[in-house]
Symmetry: C2
Subunit: 211 residues, 2 copies
Amino acid sequence: MAQTGTDQDATRSRLVEMAQGMIEERGAVGLSLSELAARAGISQGHLSRYFDSREELMEAIADHWFKPMADIMEDVLASDLPPRRKMYEFFARRFVVMRKKWEADPVKLQTYIEVGNENFEQVRSYIDLADHYLGEIIGEAMSDGHFTGLDVDETISLINQMCAPYCALNTMTMFMERLNEDKLARIIDAVFDGLSAQDRGARAVTGLRAA
Amino acid sequence: MAQTGTDQDATRSRLVEMAQGMIEERGAVGLSLSELAARAGISQGHLSRYFDSREELMEAIADHWFKPMADIMEDVLASDLPPRRKMYEFFARRFVVMRKKWEADPVKLQTYIEVGNENFEQVRSYIDLADHYLGEIIGEAMSDGHFTGLDVDETISLINQMCAPYCALNTMTMFMERLNEDKLARIIDAVFDGLSAQDRGARAVTGLRAA
């Protein structure tokens, strides 16, 4: 049975969605290629045309799950917003998508977070992509004179830490009820107006630290 | 057998430490009053002079675990440091204690964090205490003109979010390898120099937000 590329893509997408359904029912542990083949009513040989290994399937699920988030980041980066607005949108739009998932079904979201925690290689490439984009926004902000004395990687790390509840999913779900766009905007403003390499007194070089 | 108050306190402490040992061996699920009595070689009736219920025991364990953290907060609050230094020390000293626990035995620390997650009422009073102290430091900073337009509760929430990796234990252990005192100092400086109720452009009132 000859399939066109488009047919194959459609089948692959359908299989990924079916696998997501299985994960939502009983977690990632309950997901194997043989069970997916059974559920789809195809042979394991046929399934292997789409996924060579369980790992490849998990990767496809992660890609599918993160796709809307990657699209958001690309849209924001491609916009002609000033860096401060860009950075707010960069975090806010993805946060809003996650909050909607959480409001719709917090248990389902938690299942995906745990799938992610257990398959961290797949999540890693999404985090790397987010760091890459954040670095681009930071570069633009630096051209405008922000983050004096810091390098890009240091700034990425600091901003990820200051915005952890709005981007690290494990942290987000714990903090969710206290998170909102107004607070995020104040944090981003504080990042832009307060973050630099200049030591302004929080940490004393000498004094009580060792006490 | 008549015991002095001091004897009773010492026995109680010994029992709490014994219970902690049991938790470290096999998690909180494996901890019951009857097993603690057996381990201590005393009757359950005798044990009930110290702990009326498992809940009371868990509370005593949490108190014991959080005591050094509460002491740190009191010391910092009682110091005559300026508010910015106080806030840094408030987070940094507790972070350093946790990092030491993590370096010594990350699995043991994770066990206690899970005990805390499962017995959140006990943790709640520690968090409330920390928020109370943080509010005092914020009040001092406000007298110096910081956090213009924000109220104390709003500021507590914002700072807890911006410092989440340095105070929320679940988040801290995830971020641990990327956390250090230099970064915390930059974040506290950004809090003091960047955080206010003034809208400085991160969030546009109109524009691309709905896109």
